[in-house]
Symmetry: C2
Subunit: 212 residues, 2 copies
C-alpha cells in the first residue's frame, strides 16, 4: 500500500494514512462499498456489499449481472468505503465540516475460480455484515454456488483519510453567538422484524447485539 | 431523467425507477455522495458533501483541490447516493441481502461562476446537512467565497434502485430452524459535543432535533 501520485493526498495531508492499521478497520466497519470503473470511455459506479480478507477486497453477485461480467474481465477499479462520524458545526459557515473515515483503493479485478476461495469469501461477506450469522444459515448448495460470481480486487494502492475532533474556527470568530460543536452520528439498529411467515422464535444474540 | 443503456437496469428491473418522486427524496436524505471520474485513463472516486437544487446536484470545496480542479474542466462523472436501511437475514445464506435506496446519476460537471448561484449552493449544502443551521452561522465573506469552488453536475440521466421488505427465502427452506427477518438500521445522532472553547450555551433545537 505504497503511495503514488494516485493516492498521495495534496489537500490536508495530515488527514491521510497508508498503513494497514488505519485502513483495515475502516474497510472492516463499512457495510457497503462503492466500486467505480470505466465502460466505453465513461465512468460507472455501483454500491455493493463486500468483505476484506488479508490484503484483498472481495465482492459477489449474480453471474447474470452485467456489471459483474464487465468486472470479471480483469479491469482497473477504484473502490471507496466511507464512514460518517458526525457533523462539525463551526461558528462560520465556511468551517463547517463532516467527521469521517474513508478509504480509497485502486486495484484490478480478478474472477475467483477456486471453489475454496469463493466459499471463504461468501462466508466472510456474511460475517462482515453480521458476525455470527454464517453458522446459523442454510449454507450455499452447488446450484447456488454456480449462480454466484465472486470477484477479488487485488489492491495495488490504498489510502485512508480521516477527520476527527471538534470545530476549527477562525480566532476572529471565537466570540460569535452561534453554538459550535460536533453532532456525532452512528448507525443504530432498531427492533428486528421477524419474517411473518415464520413461527415466533427468540431473536439470536448476534442480531440483538449487532453494532457498528 | 430518461433511461438509456447506461442506467437501464438489467438485473431485478422491478427495483428500478427513473421518476423524480423516487430519486429526489434519496438525494435529499444522503449525507455524502461518491463522485467517480476518469483521469489519465484510470477510474477515480471521492466521497464529498453535496446538495440538490431542482434537477442539479452541486458539490463544493477548496479552489486548491486537485480533484475539484480536474472536475472544473467540465467532464463526465458518475455520482452515487446510497442509503442503507437494514440487513435482510434469510434462512439461506444465498438469499441474504441489504435493504437500501440508491441513486446513480450521470452528468457533466460545470464550474459555477455566477456569485448568486454559488451563494445559493453554499447555503443549500449547509441546510442539506442540518436544516436551520445557515441562519445561525457567520455567513461567507468575500475572501472565503474566493477560496471556494462550486461545481454543478447537470444531470443527463438518473436511476434509483430500492430494496424494501422482508426475506425472500426458497419455499423448500421455509421450515429451517434459522431465525429469519430484517434488522432495520438508521443513522442516529448522539449527544452534541460543544466546542470546549465556547462558554456553555443551550444547544439549538435544530441540533437536538436533527434526524434523517
Amino acid at each position: 500500500m505504497t503511495p503514488t501520485s494516485r493516492t498521495k493526498l495534496t489537500r490536508l495531508p495530515k488527514r491521510g494514512a497508508h498503513d494497514p492499521a488505519t485502513i483495515y478497520p475502516i474497510l472492516d466497519e463499512g457495510l457497503v462499498c462503492h466500486v467505480s470503473y470505466i465502460l466505453h470511455g465513461q465512468p460507472f459506479m455501483i454500491p455493493i456489499a463486500y468483505c476484506r480478507i488479508n490484503d484483498t477486497v472481495y465482492i459477489h453477485g449474480s453471474v447474470g449481472s452485467h456489471f459483474l461480467r464487465e468486472l470479471a474481465k480483469g479491469i482497473d477499479v477504484c473502490l471507496a468505503v466511507t464512514l460518517i462520524d458526525g457533523l462539525v458545526l463551526a461558528r462560520s459557515a465556511f468551517h463547517h465540516s463532516v467527521n469521517y473515515r474513508s478509504v480509497i483503493l485502486f486495484g484490478k479485478t480478478r474472477l475467483v475460480t477456486d471453489g475454496t476461495e469463493a466459499w471463504d469469501v461468501l462466508k466472510q461477506i456474511t460475517e462482515h455484515l453480521i458476525p455470527g450469522r454464517w453458522d446459523d444459515t442454510r449454507q450455499p448448495n452447488d446450484s447456488e454456488m454456480k449462480k454466484t460470481m465472486v470477484l477479488a480486487i487485488d489492491v495495488d494502492e490504498a489510502s485512508a483519510k480521516v477527520r476527527t475532533g471538534n470545530v476549527n474556527d477562525d480566532p476572529d470568530d471565537a466570540g460569535l453567538p452561534h453554538w459550535a460543536g460536533v453532532l456525532p452520528l452512528t448507525i443504530q439498529p432498531r427492533a428486528p422484524i421477524q419474517d411473518p411467515n415464520q413461527a415466533a422464535m427468540e431473536v439470536p444474540e448476534y442480531v440483538t447485539g449487532w453494532k457498528r
